[in-house]
Amino acid sequence: MTLMSLDIWIVTTGVLSALSCALLGNFLVLRRMSMMGDAISHAVLPGLAVAFLITSSRSNMPMFIGAGVVGVLTALFTQWIHRVGRVEQGAAMGVVFTTLFAIGLIIIVQAADAVDLDPGCVLYGAIELVPLDTAPFLGLHIPRAVWTLSLVFLVNVLLVILFYKELKISSFDEDLATTLGLNASCMHYLLMILVAITTVASFESVGSILVIAMFIVPGATAYLLTDRLHIMIGVSLVIGIMCAVGGHIAAVRLPAWWGLPDTSTAGMMAVVGGLLFFVALIASPRHGVASKLLHRFWLSVRITREDVLGILYRIEEFQPVRNHGVVPRILRDAKQTGPVIRWLALAQLMQAGKVKKASSGIQLTSKGRVHARNLIRTHRLWESYIEKHFVIPIDHLHAPAERLEHVTDPDMQKLLLEKTTNPQKDPHGKNIP
């Protein structure tokens, strides 16, 4: 029973921090500022240290303020170095956050007697220890981190809903936002403040590396899956929850398969996020690698199909008398496509009844001839068009026409006919069928 409730609190903390981060992460990814989460989470160290030195307590409020201030300073310095020094944004960020981190480190080491901050704890986080630090409420012992994170998540949700339109426009098109009278830089800094506060809130409980992962990975994964912002936000939140739950289960169960003890939950959450991202990268319906490759494959089959028809037609035209069919070897030599694609293209043509087997090789059927004639017509019309409207030597006409013939629809063909004033012969002196 005790173990169960411990697990529940760990997962709850993870889910809350993943949700808060993922919500903001969408906008960071869209603004191409993903690394800002990384920068701020390193840079808040001096803020924490100074806040601790001044108040000599580890209560939440001073930490929040210290980190918020330094977080905004990070964004400001980055922006200024970028604008004033004309240094590229990423490099400016790198300069600022390493410097601030170093300052924080020196403060901590110099005042090591007084400061009880462990940089290791900050980086790794100790999500496993979350349930031990509880605060009573209505007789329930709810971990302190859950309180803080719920509050931060609520604030994030409220502000994002309130400024949804502004955030949306300024994320996609900053100049448009400015011309519409929205204060884009105000939105930028608001987002930075929220990022800083979320970072600090999640810091103590889950560690900075998970914060960075949750800022970027759910947003980036969702970005691969959809083209609409509100769906993207919803998807990223779901992915955040999946990371948190899956991460904890993986941390407890996965090493046990090899007879090893459990490992860091925060680290495994990031790993699960990475796996989910990888799955989306491969299998996303529109932007995934698999669908892109598949699309490209079928496109090349179609082009090969059309090329085969074109070659057969040209050979018929060239030797109308002696037509016993064309050996597939000629096709292979004419077009440098792979055997699989060529085989598929031929099989499809056979099935559609556009080519048939002849005494030695293959031959166009009358149905195939109609299709092929249309293709050749498009090709030669393109050649006439290009010859008429561009200054290109006559032996260079074939290549562009060869590429364009595959993407020309009937309307385009009609337009070509108009623009070329209905020629009878192409520039090479061949008949336009």
Binding site: S34, V84, I106, A111, D113, F277
Partner: protein
Amino acid sequence: MRAILNVWGCAGMRKTQNLSTPTRPYFHTPILSLLFLIVVTLFFVPVQAEAEIDSIRSITDTRLQMPTWDQLIRVLTLRDYNTRVVVLGTLFLGSASGVIGTFMFLRKRALVGDAASHAALPGIGLAFIVMASVGGDGKYLPGLLLGAFISGLIGMGFILLIRHFTRLKEDAALGIVLSVFFGLGISILGVIQKMNIGHAAGLESFIYGKTASMLAQDAYLMGGAALVVTLLCGLLFKEFSLLCFDQDFACSQGWPVLFLDTLIMALVVAVTVMGLQAVGLILMVALLIIPPAAARFWTHHLYKMIFISAAIGSASGLLGAALSALVPRLPAGAIIVLITSSIFLMSLVFGPARGVLSRSIEQWTLNRKVASQHLLRAMYEWAEIHKNTQKSDDPLKGMTIRDLFGVRSWSHKQLKRILLRAQRQGMIYRGGDRTYHFTENGEWQSKRVVRNHRLWELYLVTHADIAPSHVDRDADQIEHVLERSMVDKLEKLLLSEHPNIGVIPPSPHDIGSKGLKQRSRK
């Protein structure tokens, strides 16, 4: 024509700049405050710590004390073995990362070092497990470094993959690889700590570094890495610079772009891995980014930039290591970062090539020149109008301040300052009735300015298809930066088409009509 486009480019840039930052001076208080923050940390914090300790009076009194002269000499002459190793090691590391960092900086991939250093962690953990489970020493350094190198490379591969195959941009690719690999690394380290094979303590030093306890072995390693990196960059200087400045061109020239890209990345990973264990993650990132960024302010030449960047890297490595050896409880890594970023700030302000100061001065001189040329043209055009409207035998009246005020949108203060300056330069003089007249020099100058303006207007009207009513504003911006050779070209071009334009071509549009109208209303 290319020159024209260039001039156009900079005119356009200046225009947008003026629009977005109308009166903002280049010295920003935040920059100064960052400098201040660093200085404060360097000097104030020790005092603060001292005060704290004073009040607590702990048993271990580690209060900060100034190093004695003797200590200083010992450190600076590298007499201690330990100091020698640390100083030399950071020096090598600084120069190696300065060299390779320059290419990354110019490729706009400064943060790749950050991702590489995080991505190395799982490799370290796995290498430890493998080596420990086959019965060897789990912390055999070359093995760990090899593991780190391989996993860093895999991380780089993923970055390339994500960027190539998805619509995510560089930053997201970096962030994903960085966080996921680091998370994996932490999970693996977490497992190792609870396993009972060998003792894993000390693996974290790959994250935080342990500069002060660097061994001679590390220093040699870094020396070797620096040598290899410098050598490779020297051999492939042409290829790498081509890749930095124009990847597409390199591609069309038939260079193996992907291979070169991977090679640069591999060099970055190699340098990062070498430095990681010695100086820690953050310092490694800083050494890869800050020296090249600082060097960029000093020069426009790539090879000079590489030298400067390597010099900054090694100098701050040397200084930081020495300082940390002199002053107790000053972590060497952090001090090196702070010294590097101080150099960066100094370069940002004082760098002769792109520094804020030199650019401000440039801008200021240009603004002065532009203002006085505006004055001259305004006066000339005013005189021109009045020559047409007046009877020819009347003596020409000078312009009063009020007349000038109506011509352009300048403030009263500005106008007075411009007039005073023009008077001092002997372009104009003030007549008895508070009117301003050209001196001989001023008249000649004003003719030149007006001529440039009109030539450009004519060019725009005849060659760029811009309506005569719209050319004034465009020409207004470009006339100040027209060079002699450019004017000659314009003359040649336009004279062949308009043979009778004369010394000063007529304006293609109605000049000064606004000013005249205002005056007639009065």
